[in-house]
Symmetry: C2
Subunit: 295 residues, 2 copies
């Protein structure tokens, strides 16, 4: 059973420079849910100074509380956690990385400090909401030459032992390639199984679906993606961000795996957002569907 985690409203939009109106975002997210996406990361409770695109996150989450899909919010620290307690959400996601340099540049703390934050939040949460752990720069880092597989394995171990119920492995800069993915997943499978492992690929080099295909063959069942390929790569200006949900859904459909998502409705869900951002979708499948139905 394949599970798609839609991260466009969070990972996608936080990498778009423009701020979008709260109502526009809320109806985008509702439309994604109507198109059949069951798990959506809707926003993050981060400092509005750090990520101004998310400054309305409380209003947005408030507007969506009663919706029926499985709702997740990203939380960077205890302050964000305290805000999250005001809302009915199903899951909170927390993050760390395999790279010390990336951790300092991205979150201004050491890996140990980020793990302590995760530990404190999980303790405070006391099982109330499901916990998803993000591990970034798994397949490579823009600052450190090479992340040893051993380091990746010990980071995953740490996240599970702290109480994460799912760990999403981020190819943050889109450098993963099939042979590497296979090698890493074989080791991960040996150590932890793959039931609670999600793959979070970026399509920077157009290789995301090749990596998805490899992961699927190894037995992974959870994949993160962003509608219309929203977002980008902060480390390569103008490059693609997360793999597009359209490409992922079409990939599964072609492989005779039903994920319960209607591609036409999915493409329609992001039309308004793309217009406001003044950009075309990076997704080839998005463009095909748009032409097919003259959207």
């Amino acid at each position: 059973m394949i599970k798609i985690v839609e991260v466009g409203p969070r990972d996608g939009l936080q990498n778009e420079s423009k701020f979008l109106n709260t109502n526009v975002k809320a109806s985008f997210i509702k439309d994604l849910s109507l198109a059949g996406l069951k798990n959506i990361e809707i926003s993050s409770f981060v400092s509005p100074k750090a990520i101004p695109q998310m400054k309305d996150s409380q209003d947005l989450v408030g507007l969506l509380e009663k919706e029926k899909f499985y709702k997740s919010v990203l939380i960077p620290n205890m302050k964000g956690y305290e805000i999250s307690e005001k809302f009915e959400i199903d899951e909170i996601s927390l993050f760390t990385t395999t790279s010390e340099t990336f951790c300092r540049k991205n979150t201004n703390c050491s890996i140990d400090e980020s793990l302590r934050r995760i530990q404190d939040i999980i303790r405070e949460n006391a099982g109330k909401r499901k916990i998803r752990g993000y591990l970034s720069t798994v397949f490579g880092c823009p600052y450190e030459e090479m992340i040893p597989l051993k380091k990746v394995l010990s980071s995953i171990e740490k996240l599970f032992s702290l109480g994460c119920e799912e760990v999403s492995l981020g190819d943050t800069t889109g450098v993963a390639y099939p042979k590497q993915v296979r090698l890493y997943l074989k080791e991960i499978k040996k150590n932890f199984g793959l039931e609670k492992i999600a793959m979070h690929f970026h399509d920077t080099q157009g290789m995301a679906l090749a990596n998805v295909s490899e992961s699927l063959e190894e037995g992974v069942e959870i994949f993160d993606s962003s509608a219309a390929g929203l977002g980008g790569c902060p480390y390569a200006k103008g490059a693609s961000g997360n793999v597009a949900t359209e490409d992922l859904v079409n990939f599964f459909q072609r492989n005779e795996i039903d994920v319960g998502v209607d591609l036409k409705n999915l493409v329609m869900a992001s039309q308004e957002i793309l217009k406001l951002l003044g950009k075309e979708s990076n997704s080839k499948v998005h463009q095909l569907i748009k032409r097919k139905y003259e959207l």
Copy 2:
């Protein structure tokens, strides 16, 4: 040992509506060769009425005769073959398809007739030049619901028995998907081995590299691609055509397979052509390299 067959100057440019000056094409092809591409399909001796973009094919081939790379030209019929005899080329490529409807619409003859043409040309060639056979619509056809694998196998058998020394399997409309590719290749391997089989993927659904990855794992060593992703899909206006050579080369490089191509020089080779066509490359790797070196 991986072999890349660059088909941009033929399959790419025949799907671009604009006619390009012969000298522009010649220097494009020379630059591709200088970037490290060793096998290039430079043009086709088709009727200028059918494909006006190729109306200067004799002049172009004449200009390139003395170049050192392995030169191939596509030939649709005996008339084209007779023209080809005037030139020093290494290989002629001939084509048929698995779909009766596609054959009639595309070449205005039956599959049997197209095979007879191939037979006559191979007899006339009498071993002088190497023969490559193209088999199109292998993984699906825009007109026929489903091409049975049995039909694909018997078509390959026919092409080898007529004397083709290499058979390129065309995913003409870009509908192939990894599971199908694996299934087909396992059967093809059983029947013919894979040494003389080339894969010719189109990136219509962004799945070309996933299919390449699958093919590589099964043991395929020959791949067709088009520099800058030139060309398009006549069956889906505006959609991507052949997988881009940049994406393919980068894929192999990331997988630690040296194909002897310099990515920067490869990207530079198509800059003039893209400018004249007034389009951006569809290839994500092309865009990344362009930004990296500010080309």
